[in-house]
């Protein structure tokens, strides 16, 4: 297949049964440390091809921070349906305090041909992180997929400028969706590019890493700061940031 031109490959794929033409599982951070994690899954093919809508089946797998898979569950989503998955309810004691989740999709009938004109489908979803009473909320979409190739030499700077006068603490999470460990450095930098703080670590395969940067020591001289990485666990493996405010609340966003 790899010897064929992209156009020919694309034409062949467009004729494949749906079960043979689904993308890699999509990954995201999970938190169960007092903060909760909910997913919004949707039978998106049936909205993009309503005349050929079929039932789909998602599999949600969870990994702890060391990369061990601790559980998985299957979620049926009928055509035109959508569902919430509250991870703590589904996985109970199998859910780690922090880790990575991977979401895959397949048609309920593997050989279905009905929506094959959609080409390769990718199971994107949204994640809601919240404090226990939902006083604080964060809504993000995933950045990368399982087994995405790492970019160990890449230096990446976020475009997100964080107000050090309002944000007390930046909590940065990285997941490694790959099969091998990745060495990475996360750093905090000022508007002029000065590195203010840094933290290096090796993230195990399928593992998760948390770094906290206190902004107070830098706030007087650096009204706005940002984050960066040297060594990415995936080409688009940008971190999720939780921004903690002085009143104890937080918001979160992709960086």
């Amino acid at each position: 297949m790899r010897l064929l031109s992209p156009a020919v490959r694309s034409a062949i794929k467009a004729r494949l049964p749906r079960g043979l033409n689904v993308g890699n599982p999509i990954v995201q951070l999970l938190l169960n440390d007092g903060r909760s994690t909910r997913l919004g899954l949707v039978n998106f093919p049936s909205f993009l091809a309503p005349a050929q809508g079929v039932d789909y089946r998602y599999t949600v797998s969870v990994f702890d921070e060391d990369g061990r898979e601790t559980g998985s569950t299957v979620v049926d989503v009928p055509r035109y349906g959508a569902t919430e998955v509250e991870l703590a309810e589904v996985f109970a004691e199998r859910l780690p305090a922090m880790g990575m989740l991977a979401v895959s999709i397949r048609p309920a009938r593997f050989l279905s041909l009905r929506d094959r004109h959609l080409g390769r489908i990718r199971p994107h979803f949204f994640t809601l992180f919240s404090s226990p009473g939902m006083e604080s909320v964060g809504l993000v979409h995933p950045q990368t997929h399982l087994n995405a190739p790492a970019a160990p030499e890449r230096r990446w700077l976020s475009n997100l400028l964080i107000d050090a006068s309002a944000v007390e603490r930046v909590e940065l999470f990285q997941v490694n969706p790959g099969r091998v460990p990745v060495d990475t450095e996360a750093f905090l930098h000022g508007a002029q590019g000065t590195v203010l703080a840094r933290s290096s670590a090796r993230i195990p395969a399928r593992g998760t890493r948390r770094v906290v940067f206190e902004l107070k020591p830098f706030a007087a001289e650096h009204p706005s700061v940002s984050v960066g990485l040297h060594g990415l666990a995936a080409a688009n493996g940008k971190p999720i940031l939780f921004l903690h405010f002085r009143d104890g609340s937080f918001t979160c966003c992709h960086a």
Partner: protein, 286 residues
Amino acid sequence: MTAPASPAGGWFQAATCRSLGLSLQIRLRNTPRVLGSGARQIAAPRLLVGLRAYLRGELVYEQPEFGQIPATGTLIADQGQLALPADLEPDDELLLVADVRDENGESFASQEHQLLYTHGASGGQAYLLYDQQPARPSGAKPAPIVVLMPKIWLSDEIGTYVVVCNTWEVAAPTRQPEPVRFSLLDEHGEEACSWEYTFFYNEAKIFDLRQYAERVVTWTSRPRFFNLVGRGGASSFVLFAMMRNLRSNHFAIEHSLPPIYYMDGAIGPVRAQGCDVRLFERNRAR
């Protein structure tokens, strides 16, 4: 006032969200990257920025030479620093559109910029990065949208708003030929409520989904999940979900994902089918 001829380059648009008690700061960046891999590209020495604001399609602010963004630098457009109309109704929303182009006036790059919303009373902030869109050439035909937002949670304390912005090059305030039809669907795909709205070209509008749904849903403390579907219209749209704790006034914001995130087949049939509400309703009934 009439809209100016838009230069080639990028459009970056956002609603002020003033009706939610928020103020907006746009932070425009000059840090282009390769689409797909996300690797950095060499930045242009400077990007030129024009800024426009609209109220229901009417141009109410224009600064064609608002500023420049140096290579790897930032240009801030702060709603509070702009000479925007002051005599607005509480529900009026302004659309801000930044025209971003290089010195040749032609180049479009894959470039994300930042939105920062701050709630005046609580001081809470919501941050978002999203990509500029290609500025459409004069005479281009606007296409309808198909949007899925499986990220709506509503409860007695949680509200979610859909923030809809669109921009297009038109000479005077004009309604689009087709409405956008919104359906709020429950977990079984059953319609909790639906409505349609015919947007002006160059309009920002916020829909309070809790208000729409509370005619048929009784709220509890446990958030209930919904999927919002939108189809139709004819413009260059961006949509955000804005979630709010109504008691603490803390916010979260996220942009929607266009169909290309979900699939790599041809978009034509998706637009044709996905926008056909009759097709969807007929098949759902089977």
